[in-house]
């Protein structure tokens, strides 16, 4: 199989998709374990939607990667793996998980998501795929922030 040269545009898109699919699979798995231990029915309801979407995002990114001739091989970064470990831990409270998760995402998270989309410039299908996925990610973050605020108000 012909492989794109490292640093070339196709190689950049393949790397982006590979890293993204690995992060989404890891996130979906961690959220799945959070759901099992989640004490708040409202939070559980939303987490179920987020997990379902993350799984599909991962599958879409993986399928796109393969259609471009790539092979998934990336692993989540150490930082993300550590975050997933806390999110999946049944001994950590829901409030703490929300605070940690949202605290680790800086105010400029929106810019990071925008960068993800720009990273696929030159490949219209991948770029639109990521742009639409990012809409879901933004909705998930908005909802998680609302839940964090609600739980804090209630002192749960």
């Amino acid at each position: 199989m012909l492989r794109p040269l490292p640093g070339s545009e196709p190689a950049r898109v393949l790397g982006l998709l590979d890293a993204f699919q690995a992060a989404e699979w890891a996130g979906a798995e961690a959220i799945g374990r959070w759901i099992v231990a989640c004490a708040d029915v409202r939070l559980r309801g939303g987490l179920r939607v987020i997990r379902a979407r993350d799984r599909r995002h991962a599958a879409l990114a993986e399928a796109r990667l393969r259609s471009l001739g790539g092979v998934p091989g990336a692993r989540p970064s150490r930082d993300l793996a550590a975050l997933c470990g806390v999110v999946a831990d049944p001994g950590v409270s829901d409030r703490s998980k929300l605070a940690l998760l949202l605290g680790r995402l800086p105010a400029g998270e929106d810019a990071r998501l925008g960068e993800l989309v720009r990273g696929a410039q030159g490949d219209a299908e991948t770029q639109a795929l990521l742009e639409t996925i990012v809409d879901d990610e933004r909705a998930s973050l908005r909802w998680l922030r609302r839940m964090r605020d609600a739980l804090e108000r209630e002192g749960a």
Binding site: V41, R42, L43, R44, G45, G46, R48, V49, I50, A52, R53, R55, R56, H57, A59, L60, A124, E125, T126, Q127, A128, L129, L130, E131, T132, I133, D135, D136, A139, S140, R142, W143
Partner: protein
């Protein structure tokens, strides 16, 4: 005067109807993707189709937890006509976008039925939050397709030098 219908009854009916609509929508989108000529549109449609399928799956799962077997189905002639039209290579992507968007004069139109249910749903909070995020997904779908359509139409409207 008859007593108001218990929440569980109307929630089940709503979830099942919505599940059937989302499943049919995923099927129609899959047919469109198969013949879509525009790379960018195809990429967005892939995510939107998965979004609809995920909604259908979640709603079916929720119904199962409520002890209900999903049974609602879109009327077959309606489903078949939509699959045929959106799966046709003879109908342009621009026409399909216009057809889809004509159903939703604004982004909120797609979620009005869900928003009405959210207002009334005060016992089953897990279902309420599932529906809240499903509604956000629907809004994102209409907004993205509207923006894409506007981008397609805009060059034609631009004055020619």
């Amino acid at each position: 005067m008859s007593a108001p219908e218990p929440e569980r009854e109307w929630v089940i009916r709503f979830l099942d109807d919505l599940r059937a609509a989302e499943a049919a929508s995923a099927e129609v989108l899959a047919a469109w993707i198969a013949v879509c000529a525009l790379d960018g549109l195809r990429g967005g449609l892939r995510v939107i189709a998965e979004r609809e399928a995920a909604h259908a799956e979640l709603l079916a799962e929720r119904l199962g937890e409520m002890g209900v077997r999903p049974s609602a189905q879109l009327a077959e002639p309606v489903r078949a006509a939509a699959v045929e039209r959106f799966g046709s290579a003879q109908v342009s992507d621009e026409q399909k976008l216009a057809l889809f968007l004509a159903r939703y004069p604004d982004d909120a139109a797609a979620t009005r039925p869900i928003a009405d249910v959210l207002e009334r749903l005060d016992q089953d909070l897990e279902t309420r939050e599932i529906l809240r995020l499903v509604a956000e997904g629907e809004t994102a779908t209409v907004a993205w397709l509207r923006a894409y359509h506007a981008g397609l139409v805009r060059p034609a409207l631009a004055p020619r030098g």
